[in-house]
Symmetry: C2
Subunit: 420 residues, 2 copies
């Protein structure tokens, strides 16, 4: 068999096993699924030595290949991180099982009794980078929602991923759930990923988790439906009537609390009269927090402000940099956001109800805030108890995705012989 | 400019106009949208002569090209069909506007007031065949739900489509809605369709409407999210305890009432004891209605039954043909359906509650029936008042899609300065 055929056959074989397991998974009780999650937690703790030894192989290979410290940090497992994973598994058992929930029910005039219930999606393909925690996190979320999962992680985490999946399999073997519900594609070649993108016959959805480039590749090449998560070019708009202290506090929080994440603010838009009176304070506060400012001509009157280019408005800095622009009014702010934003999270700071209402209605984004930071766009902050990711697409799920995002629906119809 | 560039630029220009119009559409009141629908209805009736003259050009070209009578029939407009379209537009004004509906609202412990509301999807791309009625139907459903639409119909209906869109534009010009919300791509080449499949920057979703081949092409080539509708290889399973008259009546209805549609039954599965006692009656009833039967070895004891091949189990006949198979019990029926079905509509006829429950839980389909015909899978039969299509995929919408399937959601969050 040629190498390509062999790779293809490994993916197909595992996807077929997952598909078969998905049919079993759909029948599992909440109790059986929670028991399996607890067994997985126990197994991770029991197998700590094995897991850390295998992880060390990836770390060594990474260092040898000159991987950056921040990437090594993402890849690294230790006792406390394993404990964190185990704790998350136990927490997941406490969340409501969405499967079986009756979303709607009604009777038709001909007597048909209609019900729409939540069911698992089926087989979920996860494509992700060198974070071994995603292996456990994604598996557990898929199992809790009655799905099977096909995992395709990074080659740089392959020893860790194989060890974690082996431990998960040993836990599942003690449970009522099918062991085959979690499949790891060990071949991390491009060809296999490309094949996964088109495997509509076996995969119900693909979820990419990682950087903007990975997500773009999956979105642009997949015919399997994709749950797109990710990129956030988020704005804070400070309106004419914004409370000065509040506006500065929110802009600072949104920009500096954790600048590397998707719900951090990248551009601050400021209404011209507010700018004339208070922009100096905002610039000072940002610069005190070491934020490099790319400003328009008005903002450039302050020292150390770099002239903003057209490119800046579309840039997700993901660091201590921000672009700042003075706008005429809420209309211009909305136009700017809808032109350059990524439909993630957008905030208005204002005491003018009509402007807030206009901003709420016209800004096209998953989450729109009034007098609060964009940093709240997060499954845990929304009270979902778990997060699959933050959807920036408009189909199926938008914004922070909790467990229900991993489900579909089914109509169950009871009759007594109806043909009309 | 080269021809390809010109084509591309026409699509891009129209898609950009639609995107701009979508932002306007999202702000429209239910009243303004309904007024536009009524104006469209009036316009179609007023312009009847023009519309029928233009349609006649397509009909003449179709006949000249040797188009079949059934295709000519699909393409043909007449006074009564135009009246039907106008009536449908008026009916649509009576349906509830899903946009703005508050789906959930709650308060977080930190005082943030959270609300999840329905919003339009944005720009919807429709790819369809030679049915000019889809031009009006799709436009009106998209407008009612606050979306803009980019229509790409068949070259064989181009005169009809141009005339219908011109009439729609004249109606929209009298309304408060942006005329640009409805765009017709006049270039019906493959290249333009291929470009539409990848136009993620401008299109939020693609909806193919037509035969299995069209849908497959769109699904297999699109990186824009697709709402997949269509293929139905539906089954009726007659269980051991099925009421004989009811089972025969339902099987006959599901197979023969309108065999060309996706919710018609293609394979009848019969439990072995029921088959031993009653299959003759079913075969006779089907043959009386001119149904050609492809049967397994047991079924072949009756005259004029053609031996069923492996291929038959996967065939959507869409005509007066059915495959019939005897199965051991409900388990085998479920396995058969999950192997060969298209996850559309599946029915069990039974008086054994446990078997019904097992069938409901284990059959993987958009709609599962007990003691009723698969023919009910339809937006109007479900009481939705309108139908975008019947989704056979698991993301976003599954089964008959009413107006809410053309919407997304948005979180609106009100704070008073929260940063944590």
């Amino acid at each position: 068999m040629s190498e390509v055929l062999q790779k293809t056959s490994d993916l197909l074989e595992k996807a077929a096993l997952a598909k078969k397991a998905a049919a079993e998974m759909a029948k599992q009780s909440t109790e059986a699924k929670n028991k399996a999650l607890r067994l997985m937690a126990d197994q991770l703790l029991q197998e700590q030595d094995f897991l850390l030894t295998e992880n060390e192989k990836d770390i060594a290979a990474g260092r040898h290949a000159g991987m950056s410290d921040s990437l090594i940090d993402r890849l690294q497992l230790d006792a406390s991180r394993l404990k964190g994973m185990a704790d998350a598994l136990v927490l997941l058992t406490q969340l409501e099982d969405p499967v079986g929930e009756v979303l709607e029910s009604w009777e038709q005039p001909n007597g048909l009794e209609m019900a729409k219930i939540r069911v698992p999606l089926g087989v979920i393909g996860m494509i992700y980078e060198a974070r071994p925690n995603v292996t456990v996190d994604a598996s557990s979320l898929c199992l809790k929602t009655g799905n099977a999962v096909v995992l395709r992680g990074s080659s740089t985490a392959i020893h860790s991923n194989k060890a974690l999946v082996a431990a998960i399999h040993r836990a599942l073997a003690k449970s009522e759930l099918p062991v085959d519900a979690v499949q790891l594609i060990e071949d991390t070649s491009r060809e296999t990923a490309s094949h996964m993108f088109k495997l509509n016959s076996h995969l119900d959805v693909l979820i990419p988790r990682g950087g903007a480039k990975l997500i773009k590749t999956v979105v642009e090449n997949s015919t399997v439906p994709v749950l797109e998560t990710g990129a956030g070019n988020c704005h804070v708009y400070i309106d004419e009537t914004a409370n000065v202290e509040m506006a500065i506090a929110i802009a600072l929080n949104a920009k500096t609390q954790r600048p590397s994440v998707c719900n951090a603010c990248e551009t601050i838009l400021v209404e011209k009269n507010w700018a004339a009176a208070h922009l100096g304070k905002l610039v000072e506060a940002l610069q005190e927090k070491a934020v490099v400012i790319h400003g328009d001509s008005f903002v450039q009157q302050w020292e150390n402000v770099i002239p903003a280019t057209e490119e800046d408005w579309g840039t997700e800095y993901l660091g201590l940099e921000a672009s700042v622009k003075v706008v005429d009014a809420v209309d211009e702010a909305i136009r700017h956001i809808n032109s350059y934003g990524t439909k993630h999270s957008e905030a208005i700071i204002s005491e003018t109800p009509e402007n807030v209402q206009q901003f709420f209605m016209e800004v096209d984004a998953a989450a729109v805030y009034h007098n609060a930071s964009t940093r709240f766009t997060d499954g845990f902050e929304f009270g979902f108890g778990a997060e699959i990711g933050i959807s920036t697409q408009k189909l199926h799920a938008r914004g922070p995705m909790g467990l229900p995002a991993l489900t579909s629906t089914k109509y169950l119809i009871k009759g007594n012989g109806q043909t009309k």
